[in-house]
Protein backbone atom coordinates (compact mmCIF):
# COMPACT_ATOMS: atom_id res chain seq x y z
CA UNK A 1 0.00 0.00 0.00
CA UNK A 2 1.44 3.35 -1.01
CA UNK A 3 0.10 6.91 -0.84
CA UNK A 4 -1.58 6.68 -4.26
CA UNK A 5 -3.53 3.57 -3.20
CA UNK A 6 -4.72 5.21 0.02
CA UNK A 7 -5.92 8.14 -2.11
CA UNK A 8 -7.96 5.74 -4.29
CA UNK A 9 -9.60 4.22 -1.17
CA UNK A 10 -10.29 7.71 0.18
CA UNK A 11 -11.87 8.72 -3.12
CA UNK A 12 -14.21 5.66 -2.96
CA UNK A 13 -15.36 6.74 0.50
CA UNK A 14 -15.77 10.45 -0.29
CA UNK A 15 -17.32 10.20 -3.76
CA UNK A 16 -19.84 7.47 -2.90
CA UNK A 17 -21.06 9.30 0.21
CA UNK A 18 -21.14 12.75 -1.43
CA UNK A 19 -22.80 11.31 -4.55
CA UNK A 20 -25.57 9.70 -2.47
CA UNK A 21 -26.18 12.91 -0.54
CA UNK A 22 -26.49 14.83 -3.83
CA UNK A 23 -28.95 12.27 -5.21
CA UNK A 24 -30.98 12.50 -2.02
CA UNK A 25 -31.03 16.30 -2.19
CA UNK A 26 -31.98 16.23 -5.87
CA UNK A 27 -34.78 13.70 -5.35
CA UNK A 28 -36.21 15.79 -2.50
CA UNK A 29 -36.39 18.72 -4.93
CA UNK A 30 -37.87 16.57 -7.71
CA UNK A 31 -40.62 15.20 -5.50
CA UNK A 32 -42.09 11.74 -4.97
CA UNK A 33 -42.29 9.32 -7.88
CA UNK A 34 -45.50 7.32 -8.01
CA UNK A 35 -45.66 3.69 -9.04
CA UNK A 36 -48.28 4.50 -11.69
CA UNK A 37 -45.89 6.99 -13.24
CA UNK A 38 -42.44 5.40 -13.08
CA UNK A 39 -41.40 7.23 -16.26
CA UNK A 40 -41.30 10.50 -14.34
CA UNK A 41 -38.01 9.28 -12.84
CA UNK A 42 -36.37 10.50 -16.05
CA UNK A 43 -37.45 14.07 -15.34
CA UNK A 44 -35.09 13.90 -12.34
CA UNK A 45 -32.22 13.77 -14.84
CA UNK A 46 -32.72 17.48 -15.48
CA UNK A 47 -31.96 18.34 -11.87
CA UNK A 48 -28.52 19.89 -11.18
CA UNK A 49 -27.88 17.89 -7.99
CA UNK A 50 -28.90 14.59 -9.62
CA UNK A 51 -26.48 15.20 -12.52
CA UNK A 52 -23.66 16.19 -10.16
CA UNK A 53 -24.45 13.13 -8.01
CA UNK A 54 -24.22 10.87 -11.08
CA UNK A 55 -20.81 12.37 -11.99
CA UNK A 56 -19.63 11.75 -8.41
CA UNK A 57 -20.89 8.16 -8.51
CA UNK A 58 -19.07 7.58 -11.82
CA UNK A 59 -15.84 8.76 -10.17
CA UNK A 60 -16.66 6.39 -7.28
CA UNK A 61 -17.13 3.46 -9.69
CA UNK A 62 -13.83 4.19 -11.48
CA UNK A 63 -12.01 4.32 -8.13
CA UNK A 64 -13.73 1.11 -7.01
CA UNK A 65 -12.60 -0.69 -10.19
CA UNK A 66 -9.05 0.64 -9.73
CA UNK A 67 -8.89 -0.58 -6.13
CA UNK A 68 -10.11 -4.06 -7.12
CA UNK A 69 -7.28 -4.26 -9.67
CA UNK A 70 -4.70 -4.38 -6.85
CA UNK A 71 -6.56 -5.31 -3.67
CA UNK A 72 -8.75 -8.16 -2.39
CA UNK A 73 -12.52 -7.73 -2.43
CA UNK A 74 -12.58 -8.73 1.25
CA UNK A 75 -10.18 -5.83 1.94
CA UNK A 76 -11.85 -3.16 -0.20
CA UNK A 77 -15.44 -3.76 0.98
CA UNK A 78 -14.93 -3.38 4.75
CA UNK A 79 -12.39 -0.56 4.37
CA UNK A 80 -14.61 1.54 2.14
CA UNK A 81 -17.71 0.85 4.26
CA UNK A 82 -16.36 3.88 6.13
CA UNK A 83 -18.45 5.76 3.55
CA UNK A 84 -21.58 4.82 5.58
CA UNK A 85 -20.08 6.85 8.42
CA UNK A 86 -19.25 9.80 6.15
CA UNK A 87 -22.77 9.54 4.68
CA UNK A 88 -24.37 9.71 8.15
CA UNK A 89 -22.22 12.74 9.06
CA UNK A 90 -23.02 14.51 5.77
CA UNK A 91 -26.74 13.79 6.24
CA UNK A 92 -26.46 15.20 9.77
CA UNK A 93 -24.65 18.40 8.78
CA UNK A 94 -25.98 19.14 5.28
CA UNK A 95 -29.43 17.54 5.09
CA UNK A 96 -30.15 18.20 8.81
CA UNK A 97 -31.26 14.60 9.44
CA UNK A 98 -31.42 13.47 13.07
CA UNK A 99 -29.04 10.67 14.08
CA UNK A 100 -30.41 8.34 16.78
CA UNK A 101 -28.41 6.48 19.42
CA UNK A 102 -28.82 3.23 17.40
CA UNK A 103 -27.27 4.94 14.38
CA UNK A 104 -24.30 6.18 16.40
CA UNK A 105 -23.83 2.58 17.67
CA UNK A 106 -23.97 1.33 14.06
CA UNK A 107 -21.34 3.92 13.10
CA UNK A 108 -19.07 2.71 15.92
CA UNK A 109 -19.45 -0.93 14.79
CA UNK A 110 -18.50 0.00 11.21
CA UNK A 111 -15.48 1.97 12.42
CA UNK A 112 -14.44 -1.10 14.45
CA UNK A 113 -14.90 -3.31 11.38
CA UNK A 114 -12.74 -0.99 9.28
CA UNK A 115 -10.11 -1.04 12.00
CA UNK A 116 -10.00 -4.86 11.85
CA UNK A 117 -8.95 -5.04 8.18
CA UNK A 118 -7.10 -1.75 7.80
CA UNK A 119 -4.12 -3.09 9.73
CA UNK A 120 -3.89 -6.25 7.61
CA UNK A 121 -2.51 -6.89 4.12
CA UNK A 122 -4.55 -5.47 1.19
CA UNK A 123 -3.79 -8.30 -1.20
CA UNK A 124 -3.22 -11.75 0.26
CA UNK A 125 -1.66 -13.35 -2.84
CA UNK A 126 1.03 -10.68 -3.03
CA UNK A 127 1.40 -10.82 0.71
CA UNK A 128 2.17 -14.54 0.42
CA UNK A 129 4.71 -13.91 -2.36
CA UNK A 130 6.52 -11.17 -0.49
CA UNK A 131 6.41 -12.95 2.86
CA UNK A 132 9.82 -13.19 4.50
CA UNK A 133 11.68 -16.37 3.52
CA UNK A 134 11.27 -19.21 5.95
CA UNK A 135 13.95 -19.54 8.55
CA UNK A 136 16.54 -22.14 7.52
CA UNK A 137 15.44 -25.47 8.94
CA UNK A 138 17.56 -27.54 11.21
CA UNK A 139 18.90 -29.77 8.45
CA UNK A 140 20.10 -26.76 6.42
CA UNK A 141 21.79 -25.22 9.45
CA UNK A 142 23.37 -28.56 10.18
CA UNK A 143 24.68 -28.87 6.60
CA UNK A 144 26.23 -25.41 6.75
CA UNK A 145 28.21 -26.30 9.83
Amino acid sequence: MNFRKYLVLLSIVVFSAAGDVMLSRGMKQTGEIHLQNLGSVFSALGNFWILLGIVFLLVFFASYLTSLSWADLTFVLPTTSFSYVVLALLAYTMLHERISVERWCGIMLIVAGVGFVAGGPSHTETAAKTAPPKLPDAEFVEARK
Binding site: L68, L73, G106, A112, G113, G120
Partner: protein, 126 residues
Protein backbone atom coordinates in the same frame (compact mmCIF):
# COMPACT_ATOMS: atom_id res chain seq x y z
CA UNK B 1 -47.26 -13.90 1.66
CA UNK B 2 -46.06 -10.33 1.31
CA UNK B 3 -43.19 -11.17 3.66
CA UNK B 4 -42.23 -14.01 1.37
CA UNK B 5 -42.23 -11.70 -1.66
CA UNK B 6 -40.14 -9.09 0.15
CA UNK B 7 -37.57 -11.60 1.36
CA UNK B 8 -37.30 -13.27 -2.03
CA UNK B 9 -36.60 -9.85 -3.56
CA UNK B 10 -33.96 -9.26 -0.86
CA UNK B 11 -32.45 -12.70 -1.56
CA UNK B 12 -32.37 -11.88 -5.26
CA UNK B 13 -30.57 -8.57 -4.55
CA UNK B 14 -28.05 -10.33 -2.31
CA UNK B 15 -27.33 -13.12 -4.82
CA UNK B 16 -27.10 -10.82 -7.85
CA UNK B 17 -24.94 -8.19 -6.16
CA UNK B 18 -22.62 -10.84 -4.72
CA UNK B 19 -22.22 -12.35 -8.20
CA UNK B 20 -21.65 -8.83 -9.58
CA UNK B 21 -18.97 -7.96 -7.02
CA UNK B 22 -17.15 -11.27 -7.38
CA UNK B 23 -17.13 -11.06 -11.18
CA UNK B 24 -16.00 -7.42 -11.03
CA UNK B 25 -13.11 -8.32 -8.73
CA UNK B 26 -12.22 -11.25 -11.01
CA UNK B 27 -12.30 -9.03 -14.12
CA UNK B 28 -10.08 -6.40 -12.51
CA UNK B 29 -7.60 -9.01 -11.33
CA UNK B 30 -7.38 -10.42 -14.86
CA UNK B 31 -6.81 -6.95 -16.32
CA UNK B 32 -4.15 -5.98 -13.79
CA UNK B 33 -3.20 -2.84 -11.86
CA UNK B 34 -5.15 -0.02 -13.56
CA UNK B 35 -2.83 2.67 -12.22
CA UNK B 36 0.25 1.05 -13.77
CA UNK B 37 -1.58 0.31 -17.05
CA UNK B 38 -2.65 3.93 -17.31
CA UNK B 39 0.92 5.15 -16.83
CA UNK B 40 2.15 2.78 -19.53
CA UNK B 41 -0.58 3.14 -22.16
CA UNK B 42 -2.74 6.14 -21.31
CA UNK B 43 -6.33 6.31 -20.13
CA UNK B 44 -8.27 5.35 -23.30
CA UNK B 45 -6.69 1.90 -23.87
CA UNK B 46 -7.37 1.11 -20.20
CA UNK B 47 -11.05 2.09 -20.56
CA UNK B 48 -11.28 0.02 -23.77
CA UNK B 49 -9.70 -2.95 -22.05
CA UNK B 50 -12.12 -2.78 -19.09
CA UNK B 51 -15.19 -2.35 -21.32
CA UNK B 52 -13.97 -5.15 -23.60
CA UNK B 53 -13.73 -7.67 -20.77
CA UNK B 54 -16.54 -10.27 -20.92
CA UNK B 55 -16.28 -10.85 -17.17
CA UNK B 56 -16.72 -7.10 -16.55
CA UNK B 57 -19.81 -6.95 -18.79
CA UNK B 58 -21.31 -9.99 -17.05
CA UNK B 59 -20.64 -8.27 -13.69
CA UNK B 60 -22.48 -5.15 -14.86
CA UNK B 61 -25.39 -7.34 -16.00
CA UNK B 62 -25.64 -8.91 -12.53
CA UNK B 63 -25.47 -5.46 -10.94
CA UNK B 64 -28.35 -4.35 -13.15
CA UNK B 65 -30.36 -7.41 -12.03
CA UNK B 66 -29.56 -6.48 -8.41
CA UNK B 67 -30.67 -2.88 -9.01
CA UNK B 68 -34.01 -3.85 -10.54
CA UNK B 69 -34.63 -6.51 -7.86
CA UNK B 70 -34.03 -3.75 -5.31
CA UNK B 71 -36.58 -1.51 -7.05
CA UNK B 72 -39.11 -4.37 -7.06
CA UNK B 73 -38.39 -5.07 -3.39
CA UNK B 74 -38.92 -1.39 -2.60
CA UNK B 75 -42.37 -1.52 -4.16
CA UNK B 76 -43.34 -4.28 -1.68
CA UNK B 77 -41.69 -3.07 1.52
CA UNK B 78 -40.09 -0.05 3.19
CA UNK B 79 -36.70 1.17 2.05
CA UNK B 80 -35.56 1.11 5.70
CA UNK B 81 -35.97 -2.69 5.68
CA UNK B 82 -34.97 -3.68 2.16
CA UNK B 83 -31.85 -1.56 1.56
CA UNK B 84 -29.99 -2.26 4.83
CA UNK B 85 -31.04 -5.92 4.98
CA UNK B 86 -29.70 -6.44 1.45
CA UNK B 87 -26.52 -4.38 2.04
CA UNK B 88 -25.56 -6.07 5.28
CA UNK B 89 -26.32 -9.62 4.07
CA UNK B 90 -24.25 -8.88 0.97
CA UNK B 91 -21.21 -8.09 3.16
CA UNK B 92 -21.41 -11.60 4.63
CA UNK B 93 -22.12 -13.45 1.35
CA UNK B 94 -19.36 -11.49 -0.43
CA UNK B 95 -16.86 -12.55 2.20
CA UNK B 96 -17.82 -16.21 1.84
CA UNK B 97 -17.92 -16.03 -1.97
CA UNK B 98 -14.53 -14.26 -2.17
CA UNK B 99 -13.06 -17.11 -0.17
CA UNK B 100 -14.68 -19.81 -2.31
CA UNK B 101 -14.48 -18.33 -5.83
CA UNK B 102 -11.59 -15.86 -5.68
CA UNK B 103 -9.58 -18.01 -3.24
CA UNK B 104 -8.95 -14.93 -1.11
CA UNK B 105 -7.30 -15.56 2.19
CA UNK B 106 -10.19 -14.65 4.50
CA UNK B 107 -8.71 -14.83 7.97
CA UNK B 108 -10.51 -14.27 11.28
CA UNK B 109 -9.73 -10.54 11.06
CA UNK B 110 -11.64 -10.18 7.79
CA UNK B 111 -14.58 -12.28 9.01
CA UNK B 112 -14.90 -10.07 12.09
CA UNK B 113 -14.73 -6.99 9.87
CA UNK B 114 -17.53 -8.27 7.61
CA UNK B 115 -19.76 -9.20 10.56
CA UNK B 116 -19.15 -5.90 12.40
CA UNK B 117 -19.88 -3.87 9.27
CA UNK B 118 -23.01 -5.94 8.54
CA UNK B 119 -24.29 -5.37 12.09
CA UNK B 120 -23.39 -1.68 11.85
CA UNK B 121 -25.30 -1.23 8.59
CA UNK B 122 -28.39 -2.87 10.15
CA UNK B 123 -28.21 -0.51 13.15
CA UNK B 124 -27.69 2.59 11.00
CA UNK B 125 -30.87 1.78 9.12
CA UNK B 126 -32.97 1.80 12.29
Amino acid sequence: MRHLYTWSAIAMVVIASTAGDILLAKAMREIGDLGQLRQQKGILPVVARVLGSATFLLAVLFMAVAFFSLLIGLSWADVSLVAPAAASLTFVTNTAAARIFLKENVDRRRWFAALFVAAGVLLIAH
